[in-house]
Structures are given as structure tokens and as C-alpha cells.
Amino acid sequence: MSDKACNCDCAKERAAQFADLAPTLEQYAKVPGSLITILQKAQEIYGYLSVDAINYISEVTGIKPAKIYGVATFYAQFRLQPIGKYLIMLCKGTACHVNGADMIEESICEHLNIQDGETTEDGIFTLNNVACLGCCSLAPVMMVKSADGDETYGNLTKDSVKKVLDEIRERA
């Protein structure tokens, strides 16, 4: 899109807005097959893929926004909405299902008053159901991701999951 550059400073402003992404783009923008890597990095920095971010990546890489959107919506990892400070990844793998993951989900939803994919009003928790965390012997399991790192909780019960969430909320 650089051939259609306008005369104002908007291009510079956008570059400033996405300065944190510059090293990644510098490394990968011209390497074929790197779109997923770039999107992963962008999501790691900004927490989600905003329309602005998608447009900016398109501008730098020359990949059409529609295609980026297509890739971003194909894979489970990418989010198009901002998330809370703590991301609850509730495992819905087979072992967790058999051991009552639905019950745990009900408990979380009731306790936080949100559904799968939603964020609490105070912006602390987002709930995401995921396919399998690979900790099947500890089912039911959830992983809580935040800037402090990832913490996995196993052998959950309707009550223990509430206790875990309350403890996190106190820390937040």
C-alpha cells in the first residue's frame, strides 16, 4: 500500500503505535510463510489482534487484510477481542469431559457471571474453553495465563475452582 501513501503523518503514527512489533516485522516481513509467527508475536505483545494491528501487518508485509483475517479466524489460538488480566483456559479434552469438565464450566460461569469467550466486567478474567492441555491424569484441569506466567490447576471440583479464582482475584 506504500504506493498510495498520503501526505499526512498517519503512516508514521501507525509505526509509532506498533513500535513493539517492529523487530518481529523486520525479521519476518519478507520471509515467506511467516504470517502465523508474526500474528503470534503481535498477540503476545498486545493481547489480541485488533483491526488496526491486522491492517498494519498487511501494510508492512503486503499480505491482504482479508487473508490475514482468514488465517487469524482459522486457528484457535488467535483472538480478535481484548482479554482480561487472567485468561482461564478450561480444558475440554476427553479425559476432562469424562471427569466432569462441564460441571467445572458451570461453576466458573456462575461464579464469574460470564460465558465461554467472555470477559468479566472488571476486566480480570476471560474464560476460554480449550481442546486439551495434555494433563489428562489430573482431569479436570485448567490453566490460568497471565503476565506472571502460566499456572495449571488439576483435580478441580465445583468448589475448589471457585477458591482458586477467589485467590487470584485477591492478588489482582
Binding site: 479425559a95 494433563c135 489428562c136 489430573l138
Partner: protein
């Protein structure tokens, strides 16, 4: 003396890091000079966190379920006093969980420190690749793998030597070897365990494969959900490069080869080779028609070979010990050992590696200790969403590719989810269809729309709205989806439904005609009632979120079924077992 703490993902989830920190603190407080190091998952997940103490003669005492409060005593009596704490050590019975296994893939998991290459070298690590580069031609390597009878451990069970040979025979200098570490089957976690516990064996296997087929680069396509695995792989690769096992002129052979990691972004369909390649190229992971096979035209249209983690982890052992040694295990057509992930309603869940040909009964009851809470064994789900449910009546089936396929399930990547009398088989079928419907890439109509229609019927049945003809319609759709889909996902997606209809047709019929869920699991088909055992303590009434329970103090209470939302809270709170689910 030294102390080792198991810190695979499951160990960490049960608090192994806190235990390790407490150990270090207490050891320092006592002024002892005993190192605390890390190891991967030993496979006995039900005993985590696990602490191994090796005395000066390298004699092992294994402590299990070591929460921080147990640390003080172990440090005081064993580390300082030299007397093992017998009560906290592993029982003789639990020792059998590992002793009954035959470990090839998991040989180093839970033994070595995965973050230290010297540990791997000390157990003959990188000796196989040295032997290959100094003594063997690529065709010798392929021949050795052929002798071993190794078949792909990711699901399809295709002979590994054949794929390597095809990639080797393809013309062109630019070839790639790819490791599928995108363990997507819900319920399988052996690849995670190898990645976290023994990353060097995967690297060595890939280097050997790369040499055999003449690859210039290796790529590991790893799940983003496995952050610890990615971290340990990165450490392992850096150490291997430093030692000259990766990079230019490996072992002075003049041959250059390096490996990089590409993090997957979460798509089950990427287990299919052509979809995985599309994803590596930054595209949506959608499969394409074969041929051309990846061995001819793969990554960037160049010859490419893809194997999964477990397959590669077998390779160094096979080369070092000889293909014939590997073929000794297992049966003629299903050679070697296979790792199974035992989970679900099982007493001792974890990773089990056994020679192929062992019966399901030996795995579940002999090693896994049987069913949790001694309930009745109903079925075992094998092969994940592409597999099926093997019923209790077939528990003596030997676990080989051929025998399991005959039951309608598949060995697949090795997930074994055990189910008991409380698991509803119609609900299991619904669960898997929901998964495959979600993960269908949408390219083939039959898979995209067919799985959705099947799911709708199954949802209807579990809601108690099943109709006459539903079972036949499910079967018809299932067969059409199998025939009309291009890739393995669609071709196998109906398997969980077909196998449950085949073995548990009565449960489907109960749901449809009698509006009854035998396992008492489908909410719409159960009712809660209060029996005469009720003491009138009012606890249930006070905890009912919809005020559906009434009754006077010290009198038997009653549930209003019109109001009841079947949340089960009353049953959880009742101290007298007076509430029954019917």
C-alpha cells in the same frame, strides 16, 4: 547424594515447583551441600509431585505426593540423617506401575535432566548419530529401520522406512524433515512428555532421519499450548549446536543440518500432513488432495517427510541397539513398544509403555489398577476423535494395529480414556462430534455440513427429543461422510458414533424410545428425588438456587420437578445420602 524433582507439566500442576523451592530452602537452612535438579515426567502422574533421592551409591528412594509440608521431614531424616522416610516413599504396589512396562520411547523420561545435554550423553545419547555418520550409508539406516518394523506412532501406522525411502528417492537437493509435535488428540500426552522429559532423543531421531533422506533442514511443528515443551526444546537445540551435533559439519562428516521450531496455532486438522505443510507455509491449515504425496511435493513443493514425536524418539534406540532388538518386542505386524496415555475413570492414570500385543485388560487392570472407586468398567475410548469405543466385552483384545482396527477403533496416537458405568455413550458420541464439527476445516461439504447435522441429531437425542429413525439416519450420514471427505479428519470423524451404535445400541434406544439415560448423565432425562432417609435438616432447600425444595424442619423434603433445573447441588450438600438421581 542428590535430589531430583519431576517437573513435567503434570508435576508442575500438582505443585512440584513449590516442593523444589522448599527443598532448596530447607537444604540450605541445614547447611547441606546437596544439589536439587529437574527431570521430566516419569509417567506416574497420579503420584505427583515426585521427589527422587539418590544416595552416594546411586541407590534410589522415590518419594511420592510430596507437598511442601512433607519436605522438612525428608530433609531432616533422610538428607541430613541418612535414614529414608519409609511412610512417604513409593509403595511396592505403585513401583509395579513402572516395572511392568517396557520402556524404549520413555527410557529417559523422569530419569535424566532434560535441560542438561551431559545427562543425555551419559546414557549413550548422540552415540546413534555418531555411529550413523561414521559407519552407515543412508540406505543402511533405512534398512535398519525396516528391520525394526517401526510404524508411524502418530495415528496412521504407516511403515516409517517406506516414507523415508520415498523422500530419499525423490529428486532434488532441497528436502525437509518435519516433526509433528502438534499433539492434537484430546486425551493423548505422550509427545508432551517426551518433549518435556527427553527432547534430545527427538532431536537425535530427526538428525538420523534427516541424514537418511538427505534433508537440509528439520522443522518441529509444536503446539502453542505446550510452552514448557517449546522452552526445553530451545534449550536442547542450543546445547546440541554448541556440541556440534547440529549445524555445520556434524561429527566431522562434512554434512550440515539444523532444526528450527515453528509454533502451531491450534488446529486439529493440522495432524493431516498436507494441512500441516500449509500451516508451515503460513496459510490456513487446509488439506489438499494426494498424490502428490509430501515425499514428492511437500513444504514449498520440495520433498518432505513428516513423522511424529514418538516415532522419532524410537529411532536413536533402534540404531544403537539394532532393528532386530526392537522387533523382538510386539507382534510380527505391530513391532516394538507403544506408549499409551491412560486417563479417565482409571485408578492409576499416567503414561504406560508396553510391547504391542499386550491385551487391553493387562494395560487397564494389570498396570492401571482398574477402575476408579471400583465401579464397573464399561468401555475404553481409543484413538481420540478418529477412533472409537471398545466395549468391556472385548477387553481381552491385544493392542496391535490390526486387532484394534477390527473393533472399529484405532490405536491412533495412543490415548486410552477409560469409562465406567456413569459415562453415557450417546453423550460421548456427541462430545466427539462436537469436537470434529468445530475442527473441520470446511473444505469438503460432507465433513463440514454432515458433522453438523450428526451433532444436531445427537444433541436432540441427549435432550430427550430423539425420534424413531434417528439411529438409521446417523448411520447413513456417517457412511456418506466417510466416503465424501478428502482427508483423514472427515473419513474418521463418524467413528465414535459408529462404534457406540455398534456396541451400545441399547443406550441409544433407551434415550430415544424410553426417554432414559442409563448412565444417569444426560440432564434432560434424569430426575432428582428425596427418599425417606431425609432427616429434614433443610440443607438442600437452603442450597437450591431455584427454591425447588420444600419441607418442614425434621420432616422429609420434596423436590418440585417443574422448578428443578437438575444442577445436583442438593445431592452434593446432603449428608445423609437421601437424594437420588433416577
Amino acid at each position: 547424594m542428590r535430589v531430583v524433582v519431576g517437573q513435567g507439566s503434570c508435576g508442575v500442576a500438582t505443585g512440584a515447583r513449590k516442593t523444589a523451592a522448599e527443598l532448596e530452602k530447607q537444604i540450605a537452612a541445614k547447611g547441606l551441600d546437596i544439589p536439587v535438579s529437574v527431570t521430566g515426567c516419569v509417567g506416574t502422574c497420579y503420584l505427583e509431585p515426585i521427589v527422587d533421592v539418590y544416595d552416594d551409591n546411586d541407590e534410589l528412594t522415590r518419594y511420592v505426593k510430596v507437598q511442601p509440608d512433607k519436605v522438612e521431614r525428608i530433609v531432616e531424616e533422610h538428607l541430613a540423617g541418612g535414614k529414608p522416610v519409609v511412610e512417604d516413599a513409593i509403595s511396592e504396589e505403585d513401583k509395579q506401575f513402572v516395572l511392568k512396562q517396557q520402556r524404549v520411547v520413555l527410557r529417559n523420561c523422569g530419569v535424566i535432566n532434560p535441560e542438561d545435554i551431559e545427562d543425555y550423553i551419559a546414557v549413550d545419547g548422540y552415540k546413534a548419530i555418531e555411529k550413523v555418520l561414521k559407519e552407515m550409508k543412508p540406505e543402511d539406516v533405512i534398512e535398519e529401520i525396516k528391520v525394526s518394523g517401526l510404524r508411524g506412532r502418530g495415528g496412521a501406522g504407516f511403515p516409517t522406512w517406506f516414507k523415508w525411502n520415498a523422500a530419499k528417492a525423490s529428486p532434488g537437493k532441497e528436502k525437509y524433515i518435519v516433526c509433528n509435535a502438534d499433539e492434537g488428540d484430546p486425551g493423548a500426552f505422550m509427545d508432551r512428555s517426551v518433549l518435556e522429559g527427553d527432547p534430545h532423543s527427538l532431536l537425535e531421531g530427526m538428525i538420523i532421519g534427516g541424514y537418511a533422506m538427505g534433508a537440509i533442514e528439520g522443522i518441529i511443528y509444536c503446539r502453542a499450548e505446550y510452552p514448557l515443551a517449546i522452552k526445553r526444546l530451545e534449550i536442547a537445540m542450543a546445547q546440541a549446536r554448541e556440541k556440534g551435533f547440529l549445524g555445520k559439519n556434524i561429527f566431522g562428516s562434512g554434512w550440515d543440518f539444523d532444526i528450527r521450531i515453528k509454533a502451531g496455532a491450534g488446529a486439529f486438522v493440522c495432524g493431516e500432513e498436507t494441512a500441516l505443510i500449509a500451516s508451515l507455509e503460513g496459510e490456513r491449515g487446509m488439506p489438499r488432495l494426494k498424490p502428490p504425496f509430501p515425499a514428492a511435493k511437500g513444504y514449498w513443493q520440495k520433498p518432505t517427510n513428516i513423522n511424529n514425536v514418538e516415532t522419532f524418539a524410537n529411532v536413536p534406540w533402534i540404531i544403537y541397539n539394532g532393528g532386530a532388538a526392537f522387533a523382538q518386542f510386539g507382534t510380527e505386524k505391530s513391532a516394538g513398544t507403544k506408549v499409551f496415555a491412560l486417563a479417565g475413570k482409571i485408578k492409576k492414570g499416567g503414561l504406560v509403555e508396553v510391547p504391542m500385543g499386550m491385551t487391553i485388560r493387562e494395560v487397564i487392570f494389570g498396570i492401571g489398577g482398574g477402575i476408579k472407586n471400583d465401579k464397573e468398567f464399561k468401555a475404553v475410548q481409543m484413538g481420540g476423535p478418529s477412533g472409537g469405543c471398545v466395549p468391556a466385552s472385548l477387553v481381552d483384545t491385544p493392542v496391535t494395529y490390526e486387532d484394534i482396527t477390527k473393533t472399529g477403533a484405532i490405536v491412533g496416537s495412543g490415548g486410552m480414556i477409560v469409562m465406567d458405568e456413569d459415562t453415557c455413550m450417546v453423550d460421548m458420541a456427541r462430545y466427539f462430534l462436537n469436537f470434529t464439527r468445530d475442527e473441520s476445516c470446511g473444505k469438503c461439504n460432507y465433513c463440514r455440513i454432515g458433522t453438523k447435522r450428526m451433532l444436531e441429531i445427537l444433541e436432540r437425542i441427549t435432550r430427550g427429543e430423539g425420534k424413531d429413525g434417528d439411529i438409521e439416519l446417523l448411520e447413513e450420514l456417517a457412511n456418506k461422510i466417510k466416503d465424501g471427505s478428502m482427508c483423514g479428519l472427515g473419513q474418521t470423524a463418524p467413528n465414535p458414533v459408529l462404534t457406540t451404535i455398534r456396541y451400545f445400541r441399547n443406550e441409544y434406544e433407551d434415550h430415544i424410545y424410553n426417554k432414559k439415560c442409563t448412565a444417569k448423565s444426560c440432564k434432560a432425562l434424569i430426575t432428582y428425588n428425596i427418599t425417606d432417609a431425609c432427616k429434614g435438616c433443610t440443607l438442600c432447600a437452603r442450597n437450591c438456587p431455584v427454591d425447588a425444595i420444600s419441607g418442614n424442619v425434621k420432616e422429609v423434603h420434596v423436590i418440585d420437578h417443574d422448578k428443578c433445573i437438575k444442577c445436583g447441588k442438593c445431592m452434593d450438600h446432603c449428608k445423609f445420602g437421601a437424594i437420588v438421581k433416577e
